[in-house]
């Protein structure tokens, strides 16, 4: 089976410019349909104004307003949440992410990853990554980003738990999808947005960093483990409205072969991101020069 997937990926890569997103197998949850939501007009959100938790919004046909909203009680139980990812089954994963204060997101829960069941839509704790400190004065944050690796059957999570101003103590974890055990970890790296891609059949994890505006890449083995040190592959320093944004979200689009980088201001504090819009950068990969270049 594994070899069949490799062959398929290799074949698909050759057809589609030899680059493929690592979450190619993702599936949207069954509960979207069973709850009566239209997949083409529905979207998940964890950044509703003045509201905490996860929301499933269905937009009007002209996409100007929210027509209806799904928000069961359990979706609010983990406080404010960060970004979300999907697995091959249709489960949704998200994580605790403090917003303005720590009332709904006590620091001891900020290394928690939650799962929303594909069928029942219930939000439950999936994995509590061990905290690296019990002193949260300088840094109340934990998990900052997630991504799913179809072939290696694992979820990557970046966490900055324990990091301090003069000590970069963050880790990027590779967590087995089924056993929920930590298969491998990358240390002393304050990772932010994550994305697995395959270039010419070789998988790598692209990573933002909470301390700088650089995009990093680390090579992955077939089983998802890290086999190199992070190397900088692009930088958005001095780009955009502020010039020192950090890379929060990374998405590779298999259809147009572009990598979308979503960046925002982040300075290890709880200042609201109000009036500070995110910036989008679109990159493409030059296979000959083996480097990323900006296209927007």
């Amino acid at each position: 089976m594994k070899y069949l997937i490799i062959i398929l990926i290799f074949f698909t890569n050759n057809l589609l410019g030899q680059i493929l997103s690592g979450n190619y197998c993702l599936k949207y949850p069954d509960f979207i349909k069973t709850e009566g939501y239209d997949l083409n007009r529905a979207a998940f959100s964890t950044s509703e104004v003045r509201k905490k938790g996860l929301f499933l919004n269905q937009y009007s046909l002209d996409k100007t307003k929210i027509e209806k909203q799904f928000h069961p009680a359990s979706w609010e139980s983990a406080g404010f949440l960060g970004g979300m990812i999907f697995d091959r089954v249709g489960n949704v994963y998200t994580f605790s992410a403090p917003h303005v204060n720590l009332i709904d997101n006590p620091p001891i829960k900020n290394n928690n990853i939650y799962i929303v069941d594909n069928k029942t839509a219930e939000l439950k704790l999936w994995k509590s990554i061990p905290l690296c400190t019990d002193n949260f004065d300088e840094n109340p944050f934990g998990v900052m980003g997630l991504t799913y690796h179809c072939m290696a059957k694992c979820i990557y999570a970046s966490s900055i738990s324990g990091s301090k101003r003069y000590e970069e103590k963050g880790k990027v974890y590779c967590i087995d999808e089924y056993s929920r055990t930590i298969k491998d970890s990358l240390t002393e790296f304050d990772g932010f947005g994550l994305c697995v891609i395959s270039i010419n059949g070789k998988f790598s994890l692209l990573m933002g960093n909470c301390r700088n505006s650089n995009l990093y890449s680390v090579d992955l083995a077939d089983n998802g483990k890290f086999i190199s040190k992070p190397t900088m592959v692009f930088s958005i320093e001095n780009m955009g409205l502020r010039g020192d944004d950090k890379i929060r979200k990374i998405v590779y689009n298999n259809k147009d072969n572009t990598l979308t980088i979503n960046s925002l201001e982040f300075n290890f504090n709880l200042a609201a991101v109000l009036n500070k819009p995110e910036t989008n950068f679109k990159l493409k990969y030059d296979l000959e020069k083996k480097s990323w270049y900006r296209v927007n």
Binding site: I103, E138, P140, R242, L270, A271, N275
Partner: protein, 575 residues
């Protein structure tokens, strides 16, 4: 041989470690020596005065655009055509017709990349013109065919700044080179030639004024292996920051308005305790990661008075939406839990009453970068120390928040030295509190004739607590505070406290009650802590503004008009 290699390796390791530590120390020293805008004097020079006069003239003109001078006839025609084009001048005024300040930055023949090559015909004579709006940070770019007198292209770009003209480049160097603090740092008066990279646009290249959103450039002066950056704000004609960096092999590293501010505040006030001796007071103070500016181990006449005073939370609720509001922590700019953070160091100034200096004040300001735009906050903490031993713990909101129906509740934690008894005035007599307790001061509360409400007993005397009922000449509308007394426990706030209460409780549940309920402890023979939670309601009515701020267009640029609402009690010593 093995021994030799071993020694060699140890030597290399020690050399590397020493070099690394030295570099770190040098960086810290440079950060501590850096200067933030308000610490830097204004440069005085005829060129700056000329510029101010020019801005004043054009900001009052019918068309508030500073034109480019010394133009050839073609360039002059381009400029005139643009000034007559309503689309080109679209953003030169606000919706009320008030003038912004704008300037033509450049006019030049189009380059191949500026326009579709098909338009570059023999019959066309195309010029590109660039205008900058200093308030909106908008660039207007047009391409004009002077043969047909038609616009080939016209667009407005937000958050974009064109290359600055030579006149502004020279002005930036003048502001930096003739500045008192720059000269002091360099040890000599630099010439124009000494400035490097003066035409680097700070928003696009090597530095930015992220907080003021002003047009800034950074003349940089090299001295030995160091570079002195002077971040010149070309909107306010002032220096926004000064900082030394190592030149290194690849040139100076990035210096911006924000990192000069944040690095210095962190190094000097978050990472170290500051000691101040003045008017027989000795005050130690530092910025915390979420409890504001804390004063610790304060003495008066060499006797210990205050163990610690800090501001642990700001609760802001809005009555129009049930449960809507924020619980903000204030503190250090980064690596903190602060939602509203310090953007300048604490300041010490004289405390004056009727033009007489009666003591001194320590002020600390906090802000959200978008303030005073809606949903951004600005708070100030103020400690007043009087020569006669009184002290006042105060704070204010300077708006503007998310609406005109906001209620602010700051949460003070006040731990006096050896505080071992608490009494409340009941209208006739002092009544001692025997157990942990809370109370609310309201319109019916009776004060003593001196306006005291509480008495905190310490060894050898104590302090009367005089709540603010508007008697302190700061336009305050009173404290209306919840007061709590708890026994002193390390885990109840000696260290930094994370958010202790939600935004929107209107009753006594503001956070400190957690240390009382469910079983209030006896206060007898215990050291106690006094918690004080005043309440202020904001007001945006013209002439009655309170906890409020407005952006006002003055001389073509926006300035903040502020209406703080100070609250907080006075502590009056008794023997």
């Amino acid at each position: 041989m093995k021994k030799f290699i071993c020694y060699r390796l140890i030597y290399i390791f020690l050399l590397f470690t020493t070099t690394f530590i030295n570099a770190q120390n040098e960086l810290k020293e440079a950060i501590k020596k850096s200067k933030i805008g308000f610490e830097i004097s204004e440069t005085v020079s005829p060129l700056i005065e000329q510029r101010k006069a020019k801005v004043n003239f054009y900001v009052k003109a019918q068309l508030p655009i500073i034109p480019l001078e010394n133009l050839n006839p073609d360039e002059k025609l381009v400029q005139e055509l643009c000034f007559k084009n309503p689309n080109f001048t679209k953003y030169t005024k606000n919706s009320k017709g008030q003038n912004y300040i704008n300037e033509i930055f450049g006019i030049y023949p189009v380059r191949p990349g500026d326009v579709n090559p098909k338009l570059l015909t023999d019959s066309a004579k195309l010029y590109r013109i660039e205008m900058f709006n200093f308030v909106l940070n908008v660039s207007t770019i047009a391409i004009v065919d002077i043969n047909t007198k038609k616009f080939v292209f016209l667009n407005h770009y937000e958050s974009a700044q064109p290359d600055i003209p030579i006149a502004l480049k020279e002005l930036a160097i003048e502001i930096a080179a003739k500045n008192k603090e720059v000269i002091e740092e360099l040890g000599y008066q630099p010439t124009i030639k000494d400035a490097l990279m003066p035409n680097t646009k700070t928003s696009l290249n090597k530095t930015r004024c992220e907080r003021s959103q002003h047009l800034c450039v950074a003349p940089t002066f090299i001295k030995n292996d160091k570079a002195l950056w002077a971040i010149v704000d070309l909107t306010s004609l002032k220096i926004a920051g000064i900082r030394w960096t190592n030149v290194g092999v690849t040139g100076p590293s990035l210096v911006t308005e924000r990192n000069v501010q944040d690095d210095k505040i962190t190094a000097c006030y978050c990472e170290q305790l500051n000691n101040l001796k003045k008017d027989n007071w000795e005050v130690n103070y530092h910025l915390t990661t979420s409890d504001g500016l804390e004063i610790v181990d304060v003495k008066f006449n060499n006797l210990p008075v205050i163990k610690s005073v800090k501001l642990v939370d700001w609760h802001v609720s809005y009555s129009s939406t049930d449960g809507f509001g924020y619980s903000d922590a204030i503190g250090c700019p980064f690596f903190s839990q602060a939602a509203v953070y310090a953007n300048q160091p604490p300041t010490v100034s004289d405390l004056k009453v009727n033009n007489e200096t009666v003591g001194f004040v320590i002020d600390q300001q906090y802000f959200n970068p978008g303030w005073p735009m809606p949903c951004n906050y600005n708070y100030v903490q103020r400690y007043e120390f009087y020569k006669d031993g009184k002290f006042r713990v105060t704070t204010a909101s300077i708006g503007r928040g998310c609406g005109n129906d906001g209620t602010y509740r700051p949460v003070f934690r006040i731990a006096l030295q050896n505080a071992q008894g608490f009494e409340e005035w009941n209208g006739q007599d002092w009544k001692k509190w025997d157990t942990e307790h809370w109370t609310l001061q309201n319109d019916t509360t009776t004060l003593t004739k001196e306006k005291y409400l509480y008495k905190i007993n310490t060894s050898g005397g104590g302090y009367f607590v005089e709540p603010n009922v508007g008697q302190f000449n700061d336009k305050s509308r009173g404290d209306n505070a919840f007061s709590y007394v708890t026994t002193y426990k390390t885990e109840e706030g000696e260290n930094n406290l994370i958010t202790i209460g939600p935004c929107c409780n209107t009753d006594y549940k503001q956070g400190p009650e957690k240390f009382i309920e469910p079983n209030p402890e006896s206060l007898l023979n215990k050291e106690l802590v006094f918690w004080y939670v005043p309440k202020m309601r904001n007001d945006d009515r013209k002439g009655y503004e309170y906890c409020w701020a407005e952006s006002v267009l003055k001389n073509g640029v926006y300035e903040s008009e502020i209406f703080p609402c100070f609250v907080g009690p006075m502590f009056v010593p008794f023997k």
